[in-house]
Amino acid sequence: MPGSIVYKKSYSFLLVIIALSTQTACSVAPWERGNLAKKQMLIDPNPNRSALRKHVFDSKESSQGGIGGSGGGCGCN
């Protein structure tokens, strides 16, 4: 019955499903990937810098472990 809590909840649920459907129905076409191909869209936009920072971090904090680090702290590996 319109106006009841059950009706409102059902209506809201339906709207959420429709909203989610719009996100999943179409994939990005191959010719529409110009923005996705931009450097700033990379998960790691600067892999060299990240590798260097990880190396320094691993060297200094390797005793903590947990992120797959290696080396004994001398910074030479």
Partner: protein, 157 residues
């Protein structure tokens, strides 16, 4: 299912079909792309974009192939699908090609051709029918592309 109606791959160009009419235009002079003007020529319709490295890698080879076989009735029509066509214009100023380049920033042509990958190339015979679709580009594909073009050129007019 309703939203699938808006997906671009509803109408796809199949091998053996006539090329579809789509909205792309040449610059300088500005005119609409009309592939029927190229009947009696073997066409190579190439979809490319500046953000696509293999597309750019293919261009020197395609340009050389086109210049070599142009007199025998071969032509390349490149359709740029950059959302900002100015990117392609600036790229072509640096790396010019001799074949005509049309621009389709709205993606009408790739949608009608149902482009599956970038770059995608459509081999079109003298009767205006799609004969083969080539997806992507690697150096190793050059021989195959050349062979297919020569094969189409050898067919009767």
């Amino acid at each position: 299912m309703f939203f699938l109606l808006f997906c671009p791959s509803i109408s796809a160009v199949q091998v053996g079909e006539t090329v579809p009419v789509c909205n792309a235009e040449f610059k300088a002079p500005v005119q609409k792309l009309d592939l029927t003007k190229y009947r009696n020529k073997v066409l190579f319709v190439d979809f490319w974009a500046t953000w696509c490295p293999p597309c750019k890698q293919s261009m020197p080879f395609l340009n050389a192939l086109r210049n070599e076989l142009n007199e025998k009735g071969f032509e390349i029509i490149a359709i740029n699908v950059d959302e900002d066509s100015q990117d392609a214009v600036e790229f072509l100023q640096q790396f010019p090609v001799d074949y005509p380049v049309a621009y389709d920033s709205l993606g009408d042509c790739p949608a009608k051709y149902d482009v599956k990958a970038m770059p995608s190339s459509y081999f079109i015979d003298r009767q205006g029918k799609v004969r083969y679709v080539h997806l992507g580009f690697r150096r190793a594909d050059e021989v195959e592309i050349r062979t297919r073009v020569l094969s189409l050129l050898e067919e009767k007019k």
